[in-house]
């Protein structure tokens, strides 16, 4: 009971002050039938810190950390080196154990950080305004579609074939309930992103928005500029989705290419893999006039009563705690601490570091693609990519991934797992390469694939 400061003597004193005979008596409003008369069955009793740590460490030891073996898993979650100072800063109690900054006089630390974060994200995305974060990339993607519907008063979203299938599934789930129409299709195993077909589809319909992942799930780089022009001509909004922010140190920003709303997953910077969460949804708009339709919290600059600069949460009339059923979203808690981790990592990198990090990722990915292409039975699909590309093999890549995992090599993410209903994709394997990948790792993957495919 090390987390409970009250002593039995305290409890007795306090009960006397209240005028209650026992703590149980304070639960007198609970009907007898619903009250448990002892410790709940099925849970262990309390345990020491040492015993709990031992138990949890044993569970952790049953997992294979990506950093302990050659690892090429990506598909929306990327392993990058996180500088030690990032974790130190997010563990400072003043950040870790603070609440949402509703009391700005005693929350300027969090608020100034959020203002800086919003600016970093807006610049990275080539946008005017970013919000203070969403849950993750997939939910941010749905929120963007929902927002485009409010702006255009249309309800058809056309999804490019390269959108992460979990994002598609999340969007389809929400749309089923809101009555929005979603046009989506599985990718073809081709270096061509299908831009021409997408533009035809845009021209033949009246969509609210077009959603394009950049780089896409196969690692390809769709021609956002051409898609943006067609989308604009159709009176719709272009939503660009980015799941690898490091890429934007090497390729042009979605905003610069004409995307109206840019959303994405920020996990790659500062946050860590964490088996899928918590992650960091990023959300930005290119045109400031769309700010009032944005979901989520926004931090803005103002002054205090003595004229000193300060920051507050603002435009909250969009939000659930003020607008209730008329809010732009039901989101409340977002990903504050992950936003801090992202922002600290980005500050450590700076412009120079981000360009260098992106260049190193791309260099190693090119090297890996070339070596994999020389493995008999392996073909590299992409002619363009950043740090992730797709290879194809004969047969089902799922089996190869499982077999290589037994040999302590995480070969990548199979398209068969991502698109289980699409048999024509089963030979695809998405391979991610970051600055944490060594040439030895790449050679180990090549050798293991060679053996598995022989």
């Amino acid at each position: 009971m090390r987390y409970l400061p009250l002593t039995d003597a305290d409890r007795a004193d306090m009960l006397e002050a209240i005028g209650a005979p026992s703590i149980e008596a304070l639960f007198s409003d609970v009907p007898d039938a619903a009250r448990l008369d002892g410790p709940i069955h099925g849970l262990p009793m309390h345990a020491s810190e040492m015993a709990v740590e031992r138990h949890m460490a044993a569970l952790a030891a049953k997992n294979l950390p990506a950093g302990s073996v050659p690892s090429f898993c990506g598909a929306g979650a990327y392993r990058h080196h996180v500088p030690a100072s990032v974790d130190h800063i997010i563990q400072r109690g003043e950040f870790l154990t603070a609440y949402t900054p509703y009391q700005p006089e005693i929350a300027q630390g969090t608020l100034q950080m959020l203002f800086e974060f919003q600016t970093q994200v807006a610049r990275l995305y080539g946008c005017a305004v970013a919000n203070a974060s969403m849950y993750d990339g997939s939910t941010a993607c749905w929120e963007a579609i929902s927002m485009a519907g409010r702006i255009t008063r249309r309800n058809l979203a056309i999804l490019h074939e390269g959108l992460h299938p979990h994002y598609v599934a999340t969007v389809r789930t929400m749309a089923k309930f809101t009555g929005d129409s979603i046009a989506d299709r599985a990718p073809t195993l081709s270096a061509d992103c299908g831009t021409a077909a997408l533009i035809e589809e845009i021209e033949a319909n009246e969509p609210s928005c077009v959603v394009v992942q950049y780089p896409d799930i196969l690692g390809r780089l769709p021609d956002l500029k051409a898609i943006a022009a067609a989308t604009r001509a159709a009176g719709a909004l272009l939503i660009a989705v980015n799941t690898e922010p490091v890429a934007l140190g090497a390729i042009r920003s979605p905003g610069e290419l004409g995307a109206d709303i840019v959303v994405g997953e920020g996990q790659a910077l500062g946050v860590g893999l964490q088996f899928g969460g918590p992650y960091l949804g990023l959300f930005a708009v290119r045109d400031p006039k769309h700010v009032r339709q944005m979901p989520g919290r926004l931090c803005g600059e103002t002054v205090d009563a003595e004229g000193k600069r300060g920051f507050v949460l603002t435009l909250s009339t969009r939000e659930q705690h003020i607008r209730r059923e008329k809010a732009t979203s039901n989101i409340c808690t977002n990903s504050g601490l992950c936003a801090l981790a992202f922002s600290v990592h980005m500050t450590l990198l700076g412009e120079k570091g981000l360009w260098a990090l992106a260049a190193e990722n791309h260099r190693l990915a090119c090297l890996a693609a070339d070596r994999l292409a020389r493995v008999p039975g392996v073909s590299v699909l992409n002619d363009s990519f950043f740090n992730e590309f797709t290879v194809t093999i004969d047969g089902d890549a799922r089996g190869v991934v499982r077999d290589l995992a037994e040999k302590n090599i995480l070969a990548g993410v199979s398209l068969g797992r991502l698109f289980p209903m699409e048999d024509h994709l089963s030979g695809g394997l998405v391979v991610a390469v970051t600055e944490t990948t060594t040439e030895d790792d790449i050679d180990a993957l090549c050798a293991a694939l060679k053996e598995a495919l022989a």
Partner: protein, 522 residues
Amino acid sequence: MNAPNKSGWKPESPAGDRPRDDAATTTTGNRALMLEEALIFEIGTNDTTGVDLPEPDANAANRLGGMERVEAINLPGLSEPETVRHYTRLSRQNYAIDLGLFPLGSCTMKHNPRLNEKVARLPGFIDLHPMAPSSVTQGALEVIYQLGEWLKTLTGMAAVSMSPKAGAHGELCGILAIRAALEARGNARRVVLCPESAHGTNPATAAFAGYEVEDIPATPEGRVDLEALKKRLGPDIAAVMITNPNTCGLFERQFREIADAVHDAGGLVYCDGANFNAIVGRVRPGDLGVDAMHINLHKTFSTPHGGGGPGSGPVVFSETLAPFAPLPFVEKHGDRFELVEEENAGEHHASTFGRMTAFHGQMGMFTRALTYILSHGADGLAQVSGDAVLNANYILRACEDVLFAPYADSGPCMHEALFGDRDFAEGLSTLDLAKGLIDEGFHPMTMYFPLVVHGAMLVEPTETESKAALDQFITALRSLAERANGGDMTLKDAPVYAPLRRLDETQAARKPVLAWNDPNLT
């Protein structure tokens, strides 16, 4: 502040008598340990970096398909020492649980054990890829499964979905399952009923899921009016969303009767589990007729709030809703744990309403919550809710003579005590008292919520405060209440000792400046 000042020392003059302008000025603008800090955009440059990376080869061929970046992004960098100092200085302008009592009603700010942080950072958890094959993620799947099983045990419910990302996301998960179940019966129905005292997320969630929202009437004692509710029930009511204990800090005595009436009318019952920490280990919501309830792991199971997230909002379901729960989830087969997702859900989970998010939920929060549950155990969790309720009642009874407590006669409060501004002198408001608490070294309580009480002040001390800390808080709250009742207008100046005075929120909203150097929006 778990070591309150026992010597009885007090500031010589009350807050407000000594505006900061009178204090000595310094050339730097700093005041000893209060250090000013500029924005990274004012101190960093594009050429500074705090990491060592290979210099890019400008002549290297690329395969970026003609998309290579040419323009600068303009992201200022700082060296590592400057970075650490920047954020450390910022951190010191934050109030936090580690500093003192944080009585934010309904938000549950309790101590965050550091063992949980340590465990969450074990390489097997923090460095595990979500799409790694299940053969090498058995420990992670076991964490998800075990936590889910214990959430079912603690709530007495049949099924659990672990993937929702936060409380509001969990609400959405629950309401979507309700909608899917009603659609399977042939009619999704039209209206969701929420009490006026509900969290704002409740009506926002119902609207998001395509429902109209109507109020549930309340009794003068602060609980749902069962008879009025019964009159409103009918074939158009899809569900009721009720928080229990409710946001007035009271247990809904007739919850079972409410649930039975809703079920008899063909509707379903959503319980907002934001206040589950008041009853954990003592009452199982499943015994009260709940069909779906989210659990904020960051409230009941003490994962850190992190200045606004990340949260985690697993949802427990009744037998009725279990078939509609979203993907993915974890099943146990013999000694092995299996992740059920689109690939293998097929026949045995054909009614699932879909997927809430990429991957499998807030794993980093699951490890912390499981660690917390193991630490407390069944006996400790009952003591957690007991002490939380004891502490709230102690504050309620210690302050009700100076601070209007509208439901003081409605029975013991649960984990939070609700006050109103009825007795304040003309011209003074809840906001003024709350800002006065800042000067006394406390975070303000939740203000102006719930909406059913004028100038509401919702105080939730939690179980992790010592009696000495509570006594100090009570002394401060009583003194502020007496000043507000007595018309002490110096409260209008509060806070005077915080890093900033009151901020101009009107200007922030009228001319939003949402990014550095961004032209003001019009």
